[in-house]
């Protein structure tokens, strides 16, 4: 069984985002590039499914992004993925959801897979639309928000979170699966894993390997970023130490009254 996991390389989400007031661009300098946190959960799911399947099961990590970020993929290889494939081409810059998922799908067709595991959301773009679009372009079932998954007899059995509870769903392979964070905490890379990752292959694909029949990048995008700005600032309010619970309760109550909230 060939499992492919998509992993986006994003600026560290734990760094406070700042906009340069002059360029109006996100300050990226001094911010480390990391694996999109959701995708680490997707990778954990892939590694668990590989371990359970045993035999000749493999895990390939796939990313689309600038080649300069290639070494960040070693973290995924150190966690236990067998190989990495990167789609990197300057012509992809500025791709929106439509162009990104189209280009990724063409590359993933080349890579091939039995099970494609995608993260639920990116930390930087956060549309959550890429998984659905990928499934359509690839013509495979789309089963999202899995908290448990099992491959049995060529089919995928999934317990998935919904907006109001959970469902069990079954679908045939090949399929696309996205994981909820409840699937399991991503493992740490062991020292052996980190050493081994140095020797694992990272293949680079470019657009000339794919033969696309529509434009990608800025020209192939259906949306255009017009402006971005920081939100209205939310100033730090009052912090008060109280002598006892009664004083605390009254402080809040008086504040709510003043704000006409009670």
């Amino acid at each position: 069984m060939k499992i492919v996991v998509t992993v986006k390389l994003v600026p560290d989400p734990n760094s406070e985002k700042k906009i340069d007031p002059n360029t109006k661009r996100l300050v990226r300098t001094g911010v480390e590039t990391v694996l999109n946190p959701y995708d680490e959960y997707a990778l954990e799911a892939a590694l668990q499914l590989k371990e359970r399947a045993g035999g000749d099961a493999t895990v390939t990590v796939f990313t689309m992004g600038p080649e300069a970020l290639k070494e960040t993929l070693r973290k995924a290889l150190a966690m236990g993925a067998d190989e990495a494939v990167m789609l990197a081409d300057a012509a992809l810059e500025g791709s929106d959801v439509s162009a990104t998922s189209y280009a990724m799908a063409q590359a993933l067709k080349k890579t091939g897979f039995d099970l494609l595991i995608v993260g639920g959301l990116t930390d930087d773009g956060s549309t959550g639309a890429v998984p659905g679009a990928l499934a359509e372009y690839l013509g495979v079932p789309c089963i999202t928000n899995a908290r448990k998954a099992e491959v049995t007899g060529g089919a995928l059995q999934v317990e998935r979170e919904t907006d109001s509870g959970y469902q069990t769903v079954r679908g045939p392979l090949p399929a696309l699966l996205t994981t909820a964070l409840t699937f399991g905490e991503p493992r740490y890379a062991s020292l052996k894993g980190i050493m081994g990752a140095k020797k694992k292959p990272i293949a680079i694909l470019t657009l000339s390997d794919l033969g696309l029949d529509r434009p990608v990048g800025t020209d192939g995008s259906k949306t255009q970023l017009v402006n971005f700005a920081p939100p209205p600032v939310r100033g730090k309010g009052k912090t008060i130490e109280v002598a006892d619970a009664t004083a605390g309760a009254h402080a809040i109550f008086d504040f709510l009254k003043e704000k006409k909230l009670v």
């Binding site: 985002k17 309760a249 109550f253």
Partner: protein, 330 residues
């Protein structure tokens, strides 16, 4: 693209407020574009919801109570939205930004070759061009994104961002035919609803009282938070730490991987205010925190932070709110 089509998500005819927010906003956009405002309701209970939608300024409501919609994972829904979009003609499709809505929207991006505005909180229309306003990076940036001119475009709508204004304009309810020759692959074998009935939906509540790891277990959610939430006329929410510990259902989780809420009042009890929690509640009107630790990050974005023990403060606060309510009534 000059029509606007609303995908009305529901369970057995029960829907969330965002559906009516979309039905209201659809008219405004359609008028600005010189087109029609339409809605699609499919699956069990559709007729009942279509009746409710007639109270909104729509032109046509497409309906089919096809049982397959609830048997297969979104495949039939995507087919129906595509069919409705084709029947409506070039249109902007409004879909709620829920877990299921995001899946439908993503699939339609590929089906219809459409652009998408995600998590939209406002629309501007100028010279026939629609631009979407969306918070990104957990609200650290507010982006404005234009949908390039094309036959179809999609927008996922953040709940609670648009207002609701019923006004019946004689919408026609029209059956829509089941798209032919489709096969469905992912079968729903069981479907469990964990939302306790009678409780207010978190995203719609004007007041949210949320608890975190500081509450130490499941009981305080019932004995401490629920009475305060009820006194304030609101709903109970939680941090991920509380949901992960199994104290409350994940459907109460607020934050990056949970729900985004924008109540007029948010009370955070025993929640430290991690960035992933902050992004789900930072747009609330007023934020009040109760925390033992005066240095907890939540102090940085609260309007009032009271440093103290939740177990003793919350019951007293509840009593004060309740007696103020009684006074107002008498």
């Amino acid at each position: 693209m000059n029509n606007v089509l609303v995908y009305a998500e529901h369970r057995g005819g029960q829907t969330r407020k965002v559906t009516f927010e979309m039905a209201t906003e659809a008219r405004r956009i359609a008028d600005a574009l010189g087109g029609k405002a339409l809605a699609l309701v499919v699956g069990a209970g559709s007729a009942q919801l279509a009746e409710q939608l007639k109270n909104y300024p729509l032109d046509t409501i497409y309906v089919n109570d096809d049982a397959d919609v609830d048997k297969f994972l979104l495949d039939p829904v995507v087919d129906y939205v595509e069919a409705a979009a084709k029947a409506a003609g070039p249109s902007l499709i409004l879909i709620p930004n829920t877990l299921a809505g995001r899946d439908v929207a993503g699939r339609l991006v590929a089906r219809l070759g459409a652009g998408i505005g995600a998590d939209v909180t406002d629309f501007h229309i100028e010279n026939g061009v629609v631009t979407c306003v969306s918070p990104k990076m957990g609200g650290a940036l507010i982006t404005t994104c234009a949908l390039k001119n094309a036959d179809y475009a999609i927008a996922t709508i953040r709940p609670n961002a648009f207002s609701v204004a019923p006004s019946a304009t004689g919408a026609q309810v029209q059956p829509i035919e089941k798209p032919a020759g489709k096969t469905y692959s992912a079968v729903i074998e069981s479907d469990v609803d964990e939302e306790s009935s009678g409780e207010m939906a978190l995203e719609e509540a004007a007041v949210v009282v949320a608890g975190g790891r500081g509450l130490g277990g499941p009981e305080p959610f019932d004995t401490l938070l629920k009475p305060l939430a009820h006194a304030l006329g609101g709903a109970v929410g939680a941090s991920r730490a509380a949901a992960d510990a199994g104290w409350v259902s994940y459907s109460l989780q607020i934050g990056q991987t949970g729900k985004t809420v924008t109540p007029s009042l948010y009370v955070a009890v025993g929640i430290s205010g991690a960035i992933q929690h902050k992004v789900g509640m930072r747009a609330s009107g007023t934020i009040v925190a109760i925390n033992k630790d005066g240095a907890a990050p939540i102090a940085e974005f609260s309007d009032l932070m009271v440093v103290g023990d939740a177990f003793s403060i919350v019951p007293e606060l509840t009593k004060l709110v309740e007696s103020a309510k009684k006074e107002a009534v008498s």
